[in-house]
Subunit: 447 residues, 2 copies
C-alpha cells in the first residue's frame, strides 16, 4: 500500500497491528468500530481476514476515543507529556484510560470525550476546593459553548447512600440537563461510584467521565463500570454496570492525597499481584518504599500495570459471571468490616487489607498455599502501613451475618476468592471446607 490512512473502519474478528516510529499498537477487533490514529502509521498489519474485511473512511469530528495505544518503555520516556493509554475492550462500550502527569492541563483529552454542551461535575468538599476550578477550566477553555454545573457532596463512605445520591439528581434536574449532557466524577471511589450510578439512572442513562483522584480510584474503582451506593445492611448493594466514556488519571492529583488514603489504594495494587500477576507482586515487594515515598515513576508504573490487569479481566467478564469476581480478593471479609464497624471508620483499602490477610489465612488452612505466601502478604501490607487484623469490635457473628448478604452468595452458598497454588493464582469458589472459614473467623475475632 502506498498510502496508509490515519483512520479505519474495521470488521469484527480482525486482529490488527499498527506500527509507527515510536508506537506499536495491537488490538483484537471484536465489534465493528472505527480506529483513528494521532499520526499516520508507517505500517498496518491485519493478522486475520486480510484486507478484504476492511473498509477505509474518514472519521467524523476530531475524536480518536477508540484508539488504543500501548507505548513501549522507550516511547513513554521520549515524550513525557503524552499519556499512557490502557484500553478497556468492551466492544461498542470500549474506552481508554489515560494515565500521566499533568493531564488536567491538557484540555483536549477531556474535551474530546464530552457529549453535548452541558457538563455536571460531581465532587466532594475535600477534592472540590483543590481541583474543581482546574477541571472546569480544562472543559471550557477554547470551548465557550460548553457550560458547567457542579454539585459538591460531603466527603466520606458514610454519605454513599440514596439521600446523597438524590442531591445529584436534584441538581441535574433543577439545571434542566438533558440526555446530551455529560457527568464528570471528580474524586475518589465514593464519588466515582455515586456519579456513575447517577449517570446510569438520570434520564435512563447519560454519558460520564471518570477523573479519579485517589490511588484506590485510579487503580481500581474508576475502571470497569461498577457503580452504586451502599445500603445500611451492606456495601454496594444498589447500583449498575455502566461504563464511562473515558478515565483520566492525572498522577499529579496524588500529591495532595493524605498518606492513609495513599496506603489504602495499595491494598488493591497488592491484590492484582496476588490473584494474577506474580511478577508485579515481586516488583511491589522491591518498590513499596518508593511507592510510599510517592516516587512519580513508581506510582505511574503501579497504576498502569494495575489498570492493565483490571482492563483485561473486565474485558473478559464485564458483568462478573465468574473471572471478574476474583478482583474481590479480601473484599467479602473487608465489606463485613466496613459495614459492621460503620461506614467510613476505616478506609476501604484498610478493610480490604485485613480481608486479604483473612482470605490468605483461610487458603493456608485449606492447604491450598504454602506458608511463604502468608508471610510475604503480611510483610508487604506492613510495608504499606496497612492493618492486618480486624477491629476489636468485630465478632464472628457479625462477620457471618453481614457476609450472608454479599453479592457473591448464590442460592444461599457464600462463594469466596481464595489463593490456590503458586503465587499469582486464585480460585472463586463455594467448594471449600466450612471448618476452615470458621477457624479463620475465630482466630481473627476475640468473640
Amino acid at each position: 500500500m502506498d498510502t496508509i490512512p490515519n483512520s479505519l473502519c474495521l470488521s469484527p474478528a480482525s486482529d490488527l497491528t499498527v506500527k509507527s516510529s515510536a508506537v506499536r499498537c495491537f488490538f483484537p477487533i471484536r465489534n465493528r468500530y472505527s480506529v483513528n490514529f494521532r499520526s499516520s502509521p508507517t505500517r498496518i498489519e491485519l493478522n486475520r481476514n486480510g484486507f478484504s474485511g476492511l473498509s477505509l473512511r474518514p472519521m467524523r469530528g476530531k475524536s480518536w476515543a477508540r484508539s488504543a495505544q500501548i507505548m513501549d518503555q522507550s516511547a513513554s520516556k521520549t515524550d513525557s507529556s503524552a499519556p499512557t493509554i490502557v484500553e478497556v475492550d468492551l466492544g461498542d462500550r470500549s474506552y481508554p484510560i489515560y494515565i500521566g502527569s499533568g493531564l488536567l492541563d491538557q484540555p483536549e483529552i477531556l474535551q474530546r470525550h464530552v457529549h453535548g454542551k452541558r457538563v455536571l461535575i460531581v465532587t466532594n468538599d475535600t477534592v472540590g476546593p483543590l481541583y474543581l476550578d482546574k477541571v472546569a477550566e480544562a472543559l471550557t477553555v477554547g470551548n465557550p459553548n460548553v457550560s458547567i454545573e457542579s454539585v459538591i457532596l460531603p466527603d466520606g463512605e458514610k454519605y454513599k447512600d440514596m439521600d446523597t445520591l438524590m442531591k445529584v439528581f436534584d441538581k441535574a434536574i433543577e439545571s434542566r440537563l438533558d440526555r446530551r449532557c455529560t457527568f464528570v466524577a471528580l474524586g475518589g471511589g465514593v464519588i466515582g461510584d455515586m456519579c456513575g450510578y447517577a449517570a446510569a439512572s438520570f434520564l435512563r442513562g447519560v454519558n460520564f467521565i471518570q477523573i479519579p483522584t485517589t490511588v484506590m480510584a485510579q487503580v481500581d474503582s474508576s475502571v470497569g463500570g461498577k457503580t452504586g451506593i451502599n445500603h445500611r445492611l451492606g456495601k454496594n448493594l444498589i447500583g449498575a454496570f455502566y461504563q464511562p466514556q473515558c478515565v483520566v488519571v492525572d498522577t499529579d492529583t496524588l500529591n495532595t492525597l493524605p498518606e492513609r488514603e495513599l496506603a489504602s489504594g495499595f491494598a488493591e495494587v497488592i491484590k492484582y499481584g496476588l490473584i494474577r500477576d506474580a511478577e508485579f507482586f515481586e516488583w511491589q515487594e522491591k518498590n513499596m518504599p518508593s511507592l510510599m515515598a510517592r516516587d512519580p515513576a513508581a506510582l505511574a508504573y503501579a497504576i498502569k500495570r494495575s489498570c492493565e490487569n483490571k482492563a483485561e479481566v473486565v474485558s473478559l467478564d464485564e458483568k462478573e459471571s465468574g473471572l471478574r469476581a476474583t478482583l474481590n480478593l479480601g473484599h467479602t471479609f473487608g465489606h463485613a468490616i466496613e459495614t459492621g464497624f460503620g461506614y467510613g471508620q476505616w478506609l476501604h483499602g484498610e478493610a480490604v487489607a485485613v480481608g486479604t490477610v483473612m482470605a490468605v489465612d483461610m487458603s493456608y488452612r485449606l492447604g491450598w498455599i504454602d506458608d511463604t505466601i502468608v508471610s510475604r502478604v503480611l510483610a508487604i501490607l506492613k510495608q504499606a502501613k496497612l492493618p492486618t487484623a480486624p477491629p476489636d469490635s468485630m465478632t464472628v457473628e457479625m462477620f457471618k451475618s453481614i457476609m450472608a448478604v454479599d453479592k457473591k452468595v448464590a442460592d444461599g452458598l457464600l462463594r469466596l476468592i481464595l489463593l490456590k497454588g503458586p503465587l499469582g493464582n486464585c480460585v472463586f469458589t463455594g467448594d471449600y471446607d466450612r471448618k476452615a472459614l470458621d477457624e479463620t473467623l475465630h482466630s481473627f475475632c476475640k468473640s
Copy 2:
C-alpha cells in the same frame, strides 16, 4: 432438505421464514442467536444469505424463550389455551410476550423463566389481594425448591418515588436474596416500572418478569424495558433501560379492572394506530364499543396488535435514539399535566389522551395533517370516555416550564412527536414553528 431441525443457530442479517401446518413465523435476524421451535416446522425459507449463513445445532436445556410465533387467526381459534406469543427481538436480550386467557393457571409459562430458587413478587395493595396468591401458587406448584417473598406497595402514581422504591430494596436485602433471584412485577405500569428499576439496580441487576394487570401495562409499559421512578419535578426522570425475561399478559386480569383504568389503557392503543398503523386505528374506530364492553376477543386482538407494534419499534431502537421516541405521542404534554396537576390526580392514559389531542391540534396548525384526522381523534377518544382538554388549573407557563425538563429535550431544544401526512404517519422533530406550539398551549389553557 430431508430433515429439518427444530432449532437453529443463525447468523446476523438473515431473514428467516418458517412454516408448519398452523404456524408461520417471520423474523429478521439482527444478532447471532438461537431459535427453537415447539414443533418441527415443515419448511424453512432463508430469504437472504442462503443456507451458507446457517449452522445447525441442538439447543441446550428446555427453554424455548427465543422462539417467535405469530399465529394466524385460524390457529389461535383452534387452541384457546395456548398463548399467542409476540417476540421482542433484542439479540441476547430477546424475550417473549405471552398473551392469552388463563395464563396464570399455566404454571409452566412462569416457571420456565424463573432464575434461581428465590422469587420476590412486587405488587400493590389493590392488585395483591386479588392475584398475589394465584401467582405465588403458579410459581411454586410442583416446584417446591422455589421460595417466595413479596412486598406490597401503596397503589398509585404518587408513590412512584425513591422512598417507595427503597422498600423493595429493603425487602430484598432483609430477605437475603442473591444475584440468582427473580423479581416479579405484578400490577400496572407503576409497579412494572418500579419493580423493573429495582431489578436493574439490586446487586447491579437481577432477572425479572412482568405480569401486567392493566390495559396500560399490557399494551405498553411492560414491554420494552423502560423502567424508573418520578422526581418531584418530572415523570420518569430516574431509571434504566432493563429488559425482562418475559411478559405474561393474562387477559383475565382485566375482569377486575375499574372502567377508568380500562379506558386509560386505550389511549396507548389509539396511539399505535395514529403513529404507525392506520389499519389498526380503523379497526379501533369500529370496535371501540366492544373494547369498552370488555369483549375478550376484541381485547386480546388489541393487546396483541399493540404489543406487535411496540415490539417492532423497540427492536429497531431499544435505547430511544430516534424511532422509539415516536411511541411518546402526546406524552410530553401529558407528562406536564401529570406533574403539574399532581401525580395520581389523573391516570396516565387520561393525560396522554389530552396530550394526543394537543399534539394533533399542533400538527394541524402546522399544516401537516388535514382536519379529518383531528375530528377522528376527538371522536375515538370520546368513544373511549377519555378527556380531551387539560384540567382548568394547567396554565401555559406550567406546560412550558415542566416540558423544559422532558427527556426529549436535546441541547435545550424541545423535540415533539407530531403527526404528518396521511393517518398512521408521524415525525419526531425539533424543527417546527414555535408559534404553533404557543397557539396550541394558549388555545387549551385558560391562562
